[in-house]
């Protein structure tokens, strides 16, 4: 019983059961008053009418007229089984009637229910006694036997109905509880399996569109996300083990060798400088990893402001124009439309710079790199397009994973984190990084949702960074 009381399903069902029983009781009360009460009042009215009719007969026909009238009523074969008439003389003796004398126990002019002997049979009757001017007493009444029977019937019906309702409520509660437990058991089983270490388990899918199906879907999606994050952590750990140990080993080797070889001071200085360079590269890798982690945590979203993409592209192109000149790459900015996104200007600039940096590095001497901002409906894009060798279609998914590098680019400086950063920044802004074939070359595009001034709820400073936006609140 304790276990039952603790069950939500049971409490819910009992609650509903109580509600049903309460409603039944209300309906019963109304029904009872509506039937028995109406019959009761009908009887009273009829008795008064009959009494009035007989007094009228007395007034017109005197005592003898009244007697005849009663005689007629008793023998007319209507209401034979319920009517009660009795005329008593001043001495209390019965003159005419169908019940035995009831003596002076009946108070005059008042309706009373009394036990009488009618046609030699005991019965409960309602009596209306009336004193006549000649000293006689006229009693008009009605046998209540049938009314009592109806009353019993209604009461019995209500009682049975009530018991059935309670039983139904309890049965429903148990059924409901079983159903609920059955659906929850699937969730609990999956949770236990996951707790035991099997992260691949999911709640079995069920048909239909009920609350549990939706809950199961939500939980499964949450589990998918957790698994992706855990896979990400594992990938990073593996990558760190490989991509950080190697350069650390190199730095350690440089220093160790310098100590063992008793180098002259100039060579030692060179070694120290080389070691510092190696450590600086490692710090850069750490910074990138931390930046990706920070971006992926979503915390920077709080500082989002409307950002004009044109401004970002102009600055980044200006920043890289000298580098492009030196590499022998034609770098152009191509801005169309009023592309504005809600975002972090430093992050978006970092992402764009990463893409431009890649394009300069991999497209190489003689190439043309076009950087553009465009708007297509609700989507704004930062596009960096080169006419270099591009990325093979089957490698495009992999290059965004941390530390992944194409075989042919391993000889070039870099840490394999650039596109991971861009990818994370795009995702933070609710957008995506698209890599496509520019025939020839690579087209890298960051698609972002266009800033909608009507839905922006920033508390202060809604003016976009860079150019103004018409219609900003």
């Amino acid at each position: 019983m304790l276990r039952l009381r603790g069950s939500v399903a049971f409490r819910l069902a009992i609650g509903y059961g109580a509600l049903i029983v309460g409603a039944m009781a209300m309906i019963s009360a109304v029904l009872y008053v509506g039937t028995i009460g109406v019959i009761d009042r009908g009887i009273d009215v009829k008795l008064h009418t009959a009494s009035k009719q007989l007094t009228d007969s007395f007034e017109t026909g005197g005592a003898e007229g009244l007697r005849r009238e009663i005689q007629e009523l008793l023998t007319d074969n209507t209401d034979q089984d319920t009517e009660v008439y009795l005329l008593l003389g001043p001495d209390g003796r019965r003159i005419i009637g169908n019940i035995s004398e009831s003596g002076g126990t009946v108070p005059p002019d008042r309706l009373t229910d009394q036990a009488v002997i009618r046609y030699g049979r005991p019965s409960i009757s309602r009596l209306l006694p009336l004193g006549l001017p000649n000293g006689d007493t006229l009693i008009v009444g009605r046998d209540l036997q049938d009314v009592h029977e109806i009353e019993q019937l209604v009461l019995r019906a209500l009682l049975i109905g009530g018991v059935v309702a309670v039983l139904l409520a309890i049965g429903g509660a148990l059924l409901f509880r079983r159903q609920l437990e059955h659906r929850l058991a699937a969730i609990r089983r999956t949770a236990l399996e996951i707790e035991a270490g099997d992260m691949s388990r999911r709640i079995p899918e069920t048909d239909g569109e009920d609350e549990f199906t939706r809950l199961n879907d939500s939980i499964n999606r949450m589990l998918d996300r957790i698994q992706r994050l855990m896979d990400g952590v594992r990938d990073v750990s593996n990558a760190i083990a490989h991509d950080l140990r190697t350069p650390l080993g190199r730095v350690r080797g440089l220093l160790d060798e310098a100590l063992l070889a008793r180098m002259p001071i100039e060579q030692l200085s060179d070694r120290a400088r080389a070691a510092i360079r190696g450590i600086d590269d490692l710090i850069l890798v750490f910074d990138k990893l931390l930046q990706i982690a920070e971006v992926e945590s979503g915390a920077r979203r709080q500082s989002f402001r409307p950002v004009a993409l044109a401004e970002i592209i102009t600055t980044v192109v200006e920043l890289y124009d000298a580098a492009a000149e030196e590499t022998g790459v034609r770098l152009t900015a191509d801005i169309a439309g009023d592309a504005v996104a809600l975002g972090d200007k430093d992050l978006l600039a970092a992402a764009t710079a990463n893409l431009v940096d890649n394009a300069l590095k991999y497209a190489g001497n003689g190439a043309t790199v076009r950087v553009g901002a465009s708007r297509d409906g609700d989507t704004v894009s930062i596009v960096v397009q080169d006419d270099g060798p591009g990325i093979p279609a089957n490698e495009r998914d992999k290059v965004v994973t941390r530390f992944y590098r194409l075989d042919r680019s391993r000889s070039l400086p870099g840490n394999g984190l650039g596109l991971s950063v861009v990818n994370a920044i795009s995702a933070l802004h609710g957008g995506s990084l698209v890599l496509a074939d520019a025939r020839p070359g690579l087209l890298a595009r960051i698609d972002l949702p266009q800033f909608d001034p009507t839905t922006f709820l920033g508390s202060d400073d809604v003016a976009p960074v860079g150019i103004g936006v018409d219609g900003a609140p």
């Binding site: 400088r273 850069l284 200006e318 940096d357």
Partner: protein, 226 residues
Amino acid sequence: MGCLVIEDEADTARYICNGLKEAGFATAWCRSGADGLHLATDERWDVVILDRMLPGEVEGLRIVETVRALGKSTPILVLSALANLDERLRGLRSGGDDYLTKPFAFSELLSRVQALLRRSAGPDEPSELRVADLRLDLWRRRAERASRPIALQPREFRLLEYLVRHQGQVVTRTMLLESVWDYHFDPQTNVIDVQISRLRQKIDKDFSPPLLHTVRGVGYMIGVDA
């Protein structure tokens, strides 16, 4: 020049203090937050270098806040291993003048300290800047050297202006990116170096002596002598 270094890690503190002494500073070092708070508020320093995570109950930023609450405008450089933008902003909002993340190169620290000292020396808004025979007209945004005009793009002018304003001091790549391009991110490659070498082509190639010098492993400096 008096410099207070509040840093709990002895190796780092020695690294900073030795370097500063070599650069001509008088340094004082304390390792706990409570002592640091005491010293920072009691005495007059030209600059305070402060680690954020200190032992004891006084956190680094509390010292900054207290110093500012007392109405002192001593330049404060906050050092921290907390590198993300939020922490950086917290450091600056609490009243710090600059924020440098660990690990750092000493030259970067020195450059920033010197920039802070210069800034606190008071604002002066000249209409013209000069280094040797290089002249920058800040109103008309024109540059000339030995009375011959030099064609510069607007961004190149800003770059040169920043260097000249800090003439005789080393400025780092990060300082340039933050001040000239107004962006806070780390361009992984040598974009700034290339910008500088292009600028050098324009202001130094046909003239002598060379004015724009590279300080190896640190950054750049403009001036007559390297």
